[in-house]
Amino acid sequence: MNKNLTWKTIFIVAVMLVFLFGIFGIPKSLSKAGLTAAVRERISLGLDLRGGTHLILQVMVNDAIKADSDNAVDRLKSELRTANITYAEITQPDPNTHPEMISVKGVPPESSADLRRIVQERLPEYDLASGAENSWTVSMKSSVLEDLKQRSVTQAIETIRNRIDQLGVSEPVIEEHGLGAYQILVQLPGVDDPARVKEIMQSTAMLQIRQALDGPFSSEQDALQKSGGVLPPDSVLMKGRYQGGPGSGDRADVWYLLSRSSAVTGRDLRGAEPTRDENNRPAIRFMLTSDGGRRFGSFTGSHVGDRLAIVLDNKVQEVATIQEQINDEGRITGAFTDQQAKDLAMILRSGALPAGIRYLEERTVGPSLGADSIRHGVLAAVIGLIAVIVFMLIYYRGAGINADLALVLNLIILLGFLGFTGATLTLPGIAGVILTVGMGVDSNVLIFERIREELRHGKTPTSAVSQGFAHAWVTIVDTHVTTIVSAAILFIFGTGAVRGFAVTLAFGLLANLFTAVFVSRVIFDAHLNRHRAGEPLSI
């Protein structure tokens, strides 16, 4: 063997060892069970093979915008009041489709310069445009709008991740899905009960603690009448649940008059955990951050004797009288079950969603189906592989061994690649492996047929081999490039399992370029080196 060939052989063996390591790592034992476990650890299986839940969520980004522009409406009103500018009304004319637009009507013409100045100075993220008859449109700048939408998606992903982490799901995938569509992909391996997970994810869980000014009222009208038809300034009316005394089965809705601003919100929470109240009913204990605790302490200190409302998702859960200054801890009681208290504490801990979410897609693969799919896929792969190997041996005799070696190495590289990159093997991915087997031998067949042709034309084995490779090479590149083009497009446009297929197919083809062209050639050369002149080539 010449030196060049020796180096090539060493290179090929090294590649093989590297990719074998990719598949198996360093197995603890060489028994069948040990190897299987090693492979399981290295090659991550898609949801369709291991079972689990796959969800696609739509973040309702308009919710976040609405919250922001609600705030802007309030700010604008108070700024105008401070500057003594009169106005007829400030509304959001189209809150559902364009929550970023605020309409200001009836500002006298002589105040328009002041209005412009106020918007520029106090609401820098908004633009002012004038409309007909003293009406104006204040709308969020498009860059700010886009940023806010994107931020709500990122924040929603973060919140959902916190909640899923606390559920103890191993290896969840939570990521943005589709460019600019404000969608989130959630994959939860092994989760067989999507309903509970969905409930936990969807909950917005906005905690606020506000001062209760008055109530409870049995209807909104009652509340309004009490204060003479209009709400007192800086107050809001909120629905709550009547917490009747012991024995009263009364669960009618009631209303409370609350302060407009919150003493503390969910952002000030340091922790929350399920607990029980003095009557041994499920409750949630919450702890405040030091900053939140300081504010809560000074608030409760100056309001001893006043009442406090705990509001969860804009619904009053409980109203209690402040007995003494509270610094850093509180308790929420309500009509919870144990499970609800547990889930709610978890949701509070993980923070509030910036916007509501809606489900677009749900797929749950039972683990039994996943196991079936693996069995079928592997069976099909083994049968296909054996059929091809046997056929090549019969049809090309000696050279068939060469093709089979190249094929096996191709498979090792492909699987090792999956192990190294952590790319996920899906059921269509297994199909991609099987197809690679079929297409992989194509290059060998092209080369071998060409060599046979050259031999028929009376060439010596050595020159037939080199001519065969030279001619077939052009065709092999052309065929591979076109297939890689379609695999790349599949990858760009595909999702989930289809992407898995595209990755396997593309990498299988690359591996094939190496094995069918380079490795095969080295094997031929090695064989020809020991080959005696005049002896026919076994092909």
Binding site: G366, S373, A380, A431, D442, E453, T483, L490, F493
Partner: protein, 401 residues
Amino acid sequence: MEFFRNSNIDFLGKKWYFLAFSLIFSVAGLFSLFFWHGLPLGVDFRGGTLVYVKFTQRPDENHVRSLLAKAGLTQAKLQRIGQPEMNELLISLDIQETSEQALDAGKNTIIQALEGTSPDPNKKDLNNASSQSVFDALLTADPVRAGTDANQRYQAIAQQIVDLRDKEHGGVFSSFDQLKVLDPNVVQVLQSSFYLSNFGVRNVEIVGPQVGKQLQIQAYKAIGLSLLGMLVYLWFRFELIYGVAAVVAVFHDTLITVGAFSMLNKEISLTVIAAILTLTGYSMNDTIVVFDRIRENVKLMRRESLAQIVNISINQTLSRTILTSGLTFLTVLSLFLFGGEVLHGFSFALVIGILIGTYSSIFIAAPMLVAYQGWRANKKGLAAQAVSLPAARSKEKARAR
């Protein structure tokens, strides 16, 4: 061993027969697409609910249909899948029944309809219980007096029960006897808080209409773009007419494959689209092998007509074409026969696609080159002679240098 040694078949001479063959299949496919079954898009693209159910005994479809109708799901479609002894049914609902607000309403209704009324209102269905609800039941009853590490122990036992159901018994218990491997106290708790329905859900797919539409657009884009990409590549490597001929052939394959899905009313899912894209790549491979040989022979055989060159080239590559297609067909056939239900549509598309893709590269793409040359020669009033391949040749030269 060798097949097709020195074959000399006049492929081009029979082109009218093959053209007729292709036309018949294309027209039949188009007819089915426009006037008969239409484009049988699966849940992935249409939006809707798909529930894959395994029963303990062979399901009586009429009975299942009446149960669903009772729950108001008169439009549910039932389809028997897999081997008959697997007792499996696919129940599908169109999106009309599942609005985006309650995406899983359809699934829940199906499961409730099949469960019927529980024999005891306090019992849950063990065949469709999650490990969480098994855990809850065990934790409440505390059958093994687990003490302080109860959470962990019952979680493990619940997982063991669910695994037993899903991995050993294919997703459904047919009797409580199958639980005998467990602690008898645990089995007793299970018997007192669960009952066994006659089915288990193996797989659920729910796709909202918005996603369906989005995926549909993506699929069209992917197919269109990959054809365009290949056209450009072939234009660059050969000549425009070669690219056009290859793309027409691939388009022909796609049409016939999609037509076959339509005629057989088989659903086109995301994985079927992946298969169709794969076969466009595959069919293109076959075509390129023939084209490469034509290009080579055009340089070698200056005296022959293009028609003869094409014929010779096809014959020279015939052995390779049949072998490769045969081997790939073998592997895909093994996928079709042994790949199981989930890959059925995918492997079916590949089986048809490989046959038709091999056929089209010989009988559609190559004759188009000759037809184009004839047309051009006619137009210019020149005698037919081999297409000189200026672009390709200059590139060859460039490469030789």
